[in-house]
């Protein structure tokens, strides 16, 4: 398999095709399309590695990321999107709320640049 994450995170490689998205809107749309079981499985794998993941990413900066680092970052961003579903809601979407389509997630400038 082609490597898309920094070497030391090879064990997370299988998650990449499913769990990386580069915008908040795409991450949220994916979260609410998953089952809570899927979200929990993802969370249970990546959350315990989050500190290590962040530590690795701190070797670079947002304006100077390799493709592999950006991919790792996007995995971490997905954990943050998934976290409330697992930690608070116990379901993919926020309960006692309006339909997910009511709130539009508007585009913002991407905060990180892939340079290598």
């Amino acid at each position: 398999m082609k490597r898309s994450l920094p070497e030391e995170f090879e064990d997370l490689e299988a998650l990449v095709p499913y769990w990386t998205r580069d915008t908040e809107a795409a991450r949220n749309a994916f979260r609410v399309s998953c089952s809570i079981k899927e979200l929990r499985e993802f969370y249970d794998i990546v959350m315990p590695r989050l500190d290590a993941l962040a530590e690795r990413l701190e070797q670079t900066t947002l304006d100077n990321m390799s493709k592999e680092e950006a991919c790792l970052l996007e995995l971490a961003l997905m954990v943050m999107e998934v976290a409330p579903a697992v930690e608070y809601y116990n379901q993919p979407d926020v309960p006692n709320s309006v339909d997910v389509e009511v709130l539009k997630i508007l585009p913002v400038d991407r905060a990180y640049k892939i340079t290598g």
Partner: protein, 405 residues
């Protein structure tokens, strides 16, 4: 009017004594559902006052523009950066026969009307009229896009639709100008931006964000626990100040809050709404006017339809635009101090996610309230002492309708 810090667990009602002119009685439902009332608000408030329409960060380069629709006034404007770097606002209305010259947002060299191709420069001046010789007595000096008063404060762009604004922007912003003079709004990039068109009156929805009484119930599933707990079970404001038309409150965090793994990570990395004591690390000028030891964030209601909520290391804003009496177009965004650190950015996304999800809870209860009012079951509603900011908004508007500017 002045302000004071309250004892959070004191059962005595205090604000009615501090602000007796606001009264204590029920408030009629008409202001929250009547088209006639909205037309008065449009005439006396939206047509006369400075309105915040966006940030200069959306206009970085020459030719950057965005369109802003103000549906309740039947107006559409273009806000653009000209070749001289000036930010201007003008009506999105072609001088030929009235068609819009721009839509959405983007960058352009010229605005071109899609109807017959009239062309305007990014400063609004007429650049080209196709087949100009076919017109009679066309005075091109009078064909620039009609301008709208436009001023900037701390990177926020305000417009005013009256011929002659009654107040300067600084007069309208009043106490906030001084208080936030050194707050680095302009340096703080957007982390998340959201919008919705919802079935609720614009004031009714705004009120959802200027009292803490609802937090333990509406947000029981999200941010509730962070803001409540034993010290402050009903999320009373630690500080509350009502001014001529603006108002400000500060809310505390729950010192006994037990963070989840994502929150523990976010606080450690820095740049989180639920940062607890770490707020002291990111303190910014103008925040925490009550010196709350458990300070979380300030709500700053900038009359008429803008909230600019400040805190340590971040701020978030809400715009409330009436479309009709029972429909609101809402826009919100969350901004953090700039960072080049990947882990801080990951932390910011924890806040983006949770705040956005909590906003959806507010939309749900506000649409529920509006549906209840529309049923005709109620003639009036009741505000408690700690909901005095909502009463203040109602009273200030009523005053401007009774005694126009």
């Amino acid at each position: 009017m002045s302000s004071e810090a309250i004892h959070l667990t004191n059962d005595q009602q205090s604000y009615r004594e501090k602000y007796p002119e606001l009264g204590t009685g029920p408030v009629p439902v008409e202001p929250y559902m009547s088209e006639e009332y909205l037309s008065k608000e449009c005439e006396h408030i939206f047509s006369k006052m400075w309105l915040m329409v966006g940030r200069t960060t959306r206009l970085k380069n020459v030719g950057d523009f965005f369109v802003k629709n103000v549906e309740c006034l039947n107006k559409s404007i273009v806000v653009a950066k000209g070749k001289d770097q000036e930010v201007r606002a003008f009506y999105n209305v072609c001088r030929h026969r009235g068609t819009n010259v721009a839509s959405g947002e983007g960058n352009c060299k010229y605005f071109t009307c899609r109807f017959h191709g009239w062309v305007y420069d990014t400063d609004g001046s007429i650049a080209h009229v196709p087949e100009e010789d076919q017109f009679y007595q066309l005075d091109k000096s009078k064909l620039n896009l009609e301008s709208v008063h436009c001023e900037i404060w701390k990177g926020f762009i305000f417009v005013n639709f009256s011929d002659k604004p009654r107040e300067t922007l600084r007069e309208q912003l009043a106490e906030y100008c001084e208080r936030f003079e050194d707050f680095p709004f302009e340096e703080m990039p957007v982390a998340g931006r959201w919008g919705a068109t919802l079935k609720a009156n614009w004031k009714l929805f705004q009120d959802a964000f200027q009292e803490g009484y609802h937090v333990s119930t509406v947000h029981a599933g999200t941010i509730g626990e962070y803001f409540t707990g034993k010290r402050n079970p009903n999320c009373r404001p630690y500080y509350l100040g009502l001014f001529k038309r603006n108002r400000s409150m500060s809310f505390s965090y729950n010192p006994e809050f037990a963070p989840h793994p994502s929150e523990i990570f976010a606080v450690k990395a820095g740049g989180s709404l639920s940062q607890g004591d770490a707020a002291k690390t990111y303190a910014l000028p103008g925040i925490n006017p009550g010196n709350d030891p458990y300070y979380s964030f300030d709500v700053n209601a900038v009359f008429p339809n803008w909230l600019c909520d400040t805190s340590a290391g971040f701020f978030f804003i809400h715009e409330f635009w009436p479309i009709d009496a029972i429909t609101t177009r809402w826009e919100a965004s969350l901004h953090f101090l700039p960072t080049n650190s990947p882990s801080q950015y990951i932390s910011q996304m924890q806040s983006v996610t949770l705040l956005r999800d909590a906003f959806r809870e507010d939309i749900a209860t506000s649409e529920g309230s509006q549906a209840g009012l529309m049923s005709g079951a109620l003639r009036e509603i009741n505000f408690s002492d700690v909901e005095i900011p909502c009463r203040h908004q109602y009273q200030v508007i009523q005053e401007l309708i009774d005694n126009p500017l």
